[in-house]
């Protein structure tokens, strides 16, 4: 069986044609991303409220974050968004090996992000800069400072979970790509994983300045 034969995608029975199916899938993904925005939105609102209540504390506490590591991670994630976009466009053009290469690059960049995050976290654990009741750092004595680290760990933690899920999805795309499931006629899953990945990137673009820079 040739590659072309295998790449033919039959749209699901309840859609009139493949285009409708593609459009429906895209709309579904957009709505899903809206729910994600609202879920993160809760945390951003909490951040805004406590920053308004305790501005000095936020200023003191944010100096304990590793700006350089955060900056490196920002570059890493933005680059991964680029490789993801390139992989989508390669899939659309039917350049399978190129698409797989870009997917793997995206995966590697995502891993780099998590490795950096791991070092940041272990450093914080070591210094006792922990959320709420577990906070035991003796240097940072500003009242309510534990609250800042609660928000830091919650926001970056939830984002980290999204990065992990994204890596799983990217790996799955590599697998399906290797099985010749995608073609210029059918590339919906890669495109949707792309949507998701750009969203994960975008969240970090808000997290980095809010936590590391302006505090």
């Amino acid at each position: 069986m040739s590659n072309e034969d295998m790449a033919v995608h039959h749209h699901a029975h309840h859609f009139a044609n493949a285009d409708d199916e593609f459009e429906a899938a895209k709309q579904g993904m957009w709505i899903f991303l809206v729910t994600e925005v609202l879920m993160f939105g809760g945390l951003f609102v909490a951040y805004g409220i406590f920053r308004g209540l305790y501005p000095e504390m936020f200023h003191e506490a944010h100096q304990y974050l590793a700006v350089k590591m955060g900056a490196v991670n920002t570059v890493v994630l933005i680059t991964s968004s680029l490789t993801m976009a390139l992989s989508v466009s390669s899939t659309q053009k039917g350049r399978k090996s190129q698409a797989i290469l870009f997917l793997i690059l995206t995966f590697i960049l995502a891993s780099c992000f998590l490795v950096v995050k791991y070092f940041e976290y272990t450093h914080k654990f070591h210094d006792g800069l922990l959320p709420g009741g577990f906070f035991h750092n003796t240097e940072l004595t500003t009242p309510k400072a534990p609250l800042f680290f609660s928000l830091y760990f919650l926001m970056t933690g939830l984002h980290g979970v999204h990065v992990l899920i994204g890596m799983g999805l990217i790996a799955w795309m590599v697998k399906r790509s290797l099985k010749n499931e995608f073609s210029p006629q059918f590339y919906t899953p890669v495109e949707l994983v792309g949507f998701y990945w750009h969203f994960v990137d975008l969240v970090w673009i808000y997290l980095f300045p809010l936590l590391y820079l302006v505090g």
Binding site: A12, H13, H14, F15, D20, E23, A24, Q27, G28, I31, F32, V34, T35, E36, L38, M39, F40, G41, G42, L43, V45, A46, I49, F50, L53, Y54, P131, G132, G133, F134, P143, K144, P146, L147, S150, L151, L154, L158
Partner: protein, 539 residues
């Protein structure tokens, strides 16, 4: 052309339990939701009967101690809200009817639809496991700081509600895309049945509000596990912030509960009045009006929480705006019935029951939106009566109306009309006997969630408890004749109510893919003529 139930249909398309548990057919998933919801409803109902039984006699210690009472009302509320009322009409009836109504073969994402059912059941399992451990005693609202400190297994219930929320989100997402992308040829937006419009507005709320509940419940779980301090005043957090977050979801959730019921009523009233619906556009758009205002009124749950006076004033004013789109709907339904030839069959009876009870619930909502009255009424039985009139009198009446209306379509059989009328009167009279006295009790100052009360409240509490037995009997009768109808009911025709929407243009029960040929819509569905049809239409 009508098919007898012996021909291929979705019920006999494949056989065996596994074929049901792995089905991607929206109709079967809808039925699985329906039976699960009915099951949870009876569990939640037993808790309700226990609450009323405890309050039958003055003095407490009748059935249970105070701590058990706290758990019982928490379970009643949590089960009824998260496992019954929210999924009832959208996930059960909506799943079954919506795709057929728009002339589609299925929802846009059938696998996601099945997943949402299992996600829902997983959430329910957590709640049940908690029940067999140390339960939960916070009330269904999980207010901080008590929910942080209580030594019950509230965390499992929180987790269960968190998981069940995702099922609600996925159902909403599925419906929005289905309505946008899978309408049959000719089914333009201005021909879309009002039930679909209502589900569309509901889905928007489900998609926008539920994620906020999800993050709130995560924060509360984290608060219990990691002492993050966001809601804990001891650590610099703000317990009132929890109320803001919680009601930012849970107030719109009230409209997740009521909008689909309004959609059901909008379908039934023109059919059983044999008259075109009055104010089609007004009813369709007012659903979105309600959905919009839904997001702007959460603070009216918090008038005595210490939020700013100015905020109280704004929330009070905005809350009153809810009455405008709601009034538009109620008047449109009444306008539809005016000079119609009314048929008082069970679906219509429930629709009228809805109108009566929901209007009382809605109007007392305007009382409660008024600041000065609210301060007096906060956390009294007046509030309990108000939201039961809306949730039971609104949503549950709508659900019962819908179950009776679409019963012939779902099972290809008829239920027993006489038994249905008996059950209706038991439920609607029982409901008023139970909850009307609670308005008076509340106005006299009896606080909600208390295990006992002052001796002068004894009489009205007794009346209320007797009413709860009537409701219980009504639902037992309903369960009996409905299940009897499924097994032994008379065969139903394709269109027993002589209705125009698409689900009635296919056989009862519908074939596996809903229609043998994709339908083409050529007109608006509400052109009913004032005729004297016998209902249900017999062979």
């Amino acid at each position: 052309m009508a098919h007898s139930s012996d021909t291929e249909n979705y019920l006999n398309h494949s056989k065996g339990l596994v074929s049901w548990l792995t089905t991607l057919d929206h109709k079967r998933i809808g039925l699985m939701y329906l039976f699960s919801v009915i099951g949870f409803f009876f569990v939640g109902g037993i808790f309700a009967l226990l609450i009323r039984l405890e309050l039958f006699k003055f003095g407490g210690h009748n059935l249970m101690d105070a701590n058990t009472y706290n758990k019982v009302f928490t379970y009643h509320g949590a089960i009824m809200v998260f496992l019954v009322i929210i999924p009832s009409i959208p996930a059960a009836l909506g799943n079954f009817i919506l795709p057929i109504m728009v002339g589609a073969k299925d929802v846009a994402f059938p696998k996601l639809n099945l997943a949402s059912y299992y996600i829902f059941m997983t959430g329910a399992v957590f709640a049940v496991v908690a029940l067999f451990m140390r339960g939960a005693d916070t009330g269904w609202t999980f207010y901080t700081p008590y929910s942080i400190r209580t030594n019950t297994t509230v965390i499992l219930v929180l987790f269960g509600a968190f998981i069940a929320g995702f099922s609600s989100i996925l159902t909403g997402l599925n419906f929005i895309v289905t309505i946008h992308k899978l309408r049959a040829p000719g089914l333009s937006w201005s021909r879309l049945p009002l039930f679909c419009w209502a589900l569309y507005a509901t889905s928007i709320i489900q998609v926008l509000a539920t994620p906020v509940l999800a993050i709130t419940l995560v924060l509360l779980c984290m608060e219990r596990i990691l002492q993050i301090g966001i809601f804990d005043p001891k650590l610099g957090g703000d317990p009132v912030l929890f109320q803001h977050f919680f009601w930012f979801y849970s107030h719109p959730a009230v409209y997740i509960m009521i909008l689909p019921a309004m959609g059901v009523i909008s379908e039934i009233i023109p059919v059983f009045s044999r008259k075109p619906i009055f104010g089609y556009k007004a009813i369709a758009y007012s659903s979105f009006g309600i959905a919009l205002v839904a997001f702007l009124v959460w603070g009216h749950h918090m008038f005595v929480s210490g939020q700013a006076e100015f905020a109280n004033f704004v929330f009070s004013l905005l809350t009153m705006f809810v009455a405008v789109p709601t009034g538009v709907k109620v008047f449109s339904w009444v306008g539809t019935m005016y000079k119609g030839s009314l048929h008082f069959h069970a679906p219509m009876l429930y629709a009228l029951g809805f109108l009566e009870l929901f209007t009382m619930g809605g109007l007392t909502g305007v009382f409660l939106a008024t600041l000065a009255i609210n301060v007096h009424m906060t956390d009294t039985y007046f509030v309990v009566a108000h939201f039961h009139y809306v949730m039971v009198g609104g949503t549950l009446m709508g659900l019962m109306a819908g179950i009776h209306y679409w019963f012939p379509k779902m099972f290809g059989k008829m239920y027993n009309e006489k038994a249905a009328q008996v059950a209706f009167w038991l439920i609607v009279i029982g409901f008023n006997v139970t909850f009307f006295p609670q308005f008076i009790l509340g106005a006299q100052g009896m606080p909600r969630r208390y295990w006992s009360y002052l001796p002068e409240f004894t009489l009205l509490n007794r009346v209320s408890t007797v009413g709860s037995w009537l409701i219980g009997m009504g639902f037992v009768v309903a369960a009996y004749y409905l299940f009897h109808g499924i097994r032994n009911g008379k065969k139903a025709l394709a269109n027993p109510w002589n209705a125009n929407t698409l689900e009635w243009q296919t056989s009862s029960p519908p074939p596996h893919e809903n229609f043998l040929k994709t339908p083409v819509v050529t007109s608006w569905p509400y052109e009913y003529l004032p005729e004297n049809t016998t209902m249900p239409v017999n062979a």
